[in-house]
């Protein structure tokens, strides 16, 4: 059938930090560049990033990229590709200074240089003592960054398609990427965006968990599209969790609450941390607290109708102190738990925060997949950057402030590679296959005509609860095994979702169903990859990975120092080695991670 085709040199899907940074590179090179985004660019989730962006500027004390590299590899529990990490850490200063030139209002010190604050895991002299490495703009770093990047894009004539939902990746018979299909929310028209180079910068998929700090837009659209088009997803078992999010809502309760005397209790009111960490109790490290909370829940001592959360008790603390030092905690309790924390317990649960895995790329932002003996063959015309991509710099666990750095460095890198590809290799548009948009139309037809199908909201909840219980912050062998079967049952239900509203203008029911199609791919990838990895490493912690001299912290380098690749169509896993060799320096040698 006939359909509208819009042609661009370059197409970027997603207008958060990574997408906007990539677009600048292409527009500045004079290429006709389109950015597709489902929400207005400055409402992308990058806005939520507060901590800052890491760069070893050394403005307040001595620092260098090599120390930053060491911290990143150690933080990632040695699953990071060290060539990518060196690349990122070496590029950090340039990335921050560029941003400053785009008008980013960084905080400053008296001599006019950018102010830098310390941040967890960032150290000087290879892990010796904390260092000031994070560059911030008050507590609105992500917000200020997006504005600076967006303004720059306006200046260089990037064309924005706002409120468009990307549907499917377009690949031809040779596997080359030729753009995407997308739906205009205003009319529901499906259009083929035909491009010489396509960059995915669609963000993470944190909404895949029941308890998530992520905004509703984080539905892993790029990951779903990539997986459906035959691209594997890498290291999807690694998700960063925060111990205390409001149960059912996900809003973070700062760890400062426990510092001020907050106590964790189970359904019986018992202060359970006394059993797990007799000395540190509620002030034990994040992973110990999360693990203890999960053990309580899994052994039936959770609270609530599903026995799936524990309590954070502040009722014994001085109300004036709470209102003075923790006013936002009180407000969050009232707004999102319906609880006055001065009088009642807050319901809390370990909460998903960041996705370490994603679409596999090399350090240039090129999407790379296995072909024969070569495990990293670039897919022509396809790039990815930011949280949707796995470069892999964060390895098994991300350091704070490295996410904003990741999107700046790899956003630019993907943009540069796309410029080169358009200029030197592809030159003209390869023809679109005749049936380019059929797959997307078939998905929409199925949704519009589904009878006696499943409810989108309920199905999403089942998926989220399944992942939370079976592949949460702390993982139990029997639950992992059971979860694999359960998530495939949920996937069957997702294939039969039904919407009652068939309207064409801003049909949010349809959009949510399409988002669920993407989330479920992430859920399957996570569940299957997590079940298969028989060790503990970084954010992937299993109860049956014994902490012993051969495997400190349960990490098994002899068998599991490798990246997972999950392929959707055969639901199969393949592994590839971790790149232990950096670009110019010696490898960060394996050792036990401890702080």
């Amino acid at each position: 059938m006939s359909y509208t085709v819009r042609k661009f040199d370059a197409l970027i899907v997603g207008a958060g930090g990574a997408g906007l940074r990539a677009a600048i590179q292409l527009s500045e090179a004079g290429f006709k560049t389109a950015v597709l985004t489902k929400v207005f660019p400055t409402r992308s989730h990058t806005v939520a990033a507060q901590g800052g962006v890491a760069a070893s500027l050394g403005n307040s004390e001595e620092d260098n990229w090599h120390w930053h590299m060491y911290d990143t590899v150690k933080g990632g529990d040695w699953l990071s590709d060290q060539d990518s990490v060196e690349f990122m850490c070496r590029k950090a200063n340039e990335a921050v200074i560029e941003l400053e030139h785009y008008g980013m209002p960084f905080d400053r010190i008296e001599n006019g240089r950018i102010y830098q604050r310390p941040f967890g895991g960032h150290m000087s002299n290879f892990g010796e003592k904390p260092v000031r490495r994070s560059c911030a703009a008050a507590d609105r770093t992500g917000h200020a960054m997006l504005h600076a990047l967006y303004q720059r894009n306006i200046k260089v004539n990037t064309q924005f398609f706002v409120e468009w939902q990307a549907l499917d990746l377009l690949r031809d018979a040779e596997g080359e990427v030729l753009g995407v299909t997308a739906m205009d929310m205003e009319t529901s028209e499906v259009v083929a965006f035909h491009a010489k180079a396509t960059i995915f910068a669609t963000g993470g998929a944190g909404r895949v968990y029941y308890s998530s700090t992520n905004a509703f837009i984080n539905t892993g659209d790029g990951l779903g599209m990539a997986a459906r088009a035959g691209i594997p997803l890498e290291d999807m078992e690694f998700w960063q969790f925060h111990p205390t999010g409001i149960a059912g809502a996900g809003v973070l309760i700062t760890e400062g609450v426990r510092g001020e005397g907050g106590i964790l209790r189970n359904a019986d009111g018992e202060r359970f941390m006394e059993r797990y960490a007799p000395n540190a109790k509620d002030l034990a490290s994040r992973d110990v607290v999360s693990r203890s909370m999960l053990t309580e829940i899994n052994e039936g001592r959770g609270a609530g109708p599903y026995k799936d959360y524990v309590y954070l008790d502040l009722t014994h603390l001085d109300p004036q102190m709470i209102m003075k030092r923790l006013p936002s905690v009180h407000e969050i309790g009232v707004q999102f738990a319906g609880v006055d924390c001065l009088k009642e317990y807050l319901p809390v649960v370990p909460t998903c925060h960041y996705q370490m895995g994603g679409i596999p790329t090399n350090r240039f932002g090129q999407v790379v997949i296995p072909q024969g003996n070569n495990l990293e063959v670039p897919v022509p015309g396809f790039y990815a950057a930011g949280e949707c991509a796995c470069a892999s710099v964060h390895g098994a666990n991300r350091l704070g402030t490295n996410s904003l750095l990741d999107l700046l460095v790899f956003g630019k890198s993907a943009g540069e590679m796309a410029v080169e590809y358009i200029r030197d290799t592809v030159k003209t548009h390869k023809p679109l296959p005749q049936d380019a948009i059929d797959r997307s139309l078939a998905r929409l037809d199925r949704l519009n005509n589904q009878k006696d199908g499943s409810n989108v909201h309920e199905t999403r909840l089942v998926m989220q609860r399944t992942l939370q219980k079976h592949a949460g912050v702390f993982r139990f062998n029997n639950l992992l095994k059971e979860g694999v079967g359960l998530i495939h049952e949920v996937a069957e239900t997702v294939a039969h979702t039904e919407i009652r509203d068939k309207s064409k203008v801003f049909n949010t029911a349809r959009l949510e169903a399409l988002e669920l199609d993407n989330l479920i791919e992430v859920a399957k990838a996570t569940m299957v990859s997590a079940e298969a990895r028989k060790e503990s490493r970084g954010a992937h912690m299993r109860d049956d990975a014994e902490d012993c001299p051969e495997h400190p912290n349960g990490r098994d380098d002899a068998n599991w120092l490798k990246h997972t690749l999950w392929f959707r169509d055969e639901n199969r896993l393949q592994y590839k080695p971790v790149q232990m060799k950096p670009l110019t320096v010696d490898s960060v040698e394996l050792k036990t991670r401890s702080y």
């Binding site: 929400v39 409402r43 905004a215 837009i217 969050i332 309207s503 203008v505 801003f506």
Partner: protein
Amino acid sequence: MDEERGARIGRLKWHCRRALLELDLIFERFWERHGDDLDTQGEAALTRLLELEDHDLWALMSGKEVTDDPQLMGMIERLREV
């Protein structure tokens, strides 16, 4: 709901997809409770609020900031209702 209003409400609902989870949750609760009885004045007030930056919007929702604009005050009160 007539088609024209349906389209307006659909657009407003989508514009309630924000960068911050806190705002998403507040708007989700609002639509569950008030989606059916939102009048044109309410639509206008909500439209104005949705034009704000997310951090400014959250400052109003969390009570850190206040406004003396009567049209916005009424809507903020409804959004903050627990």
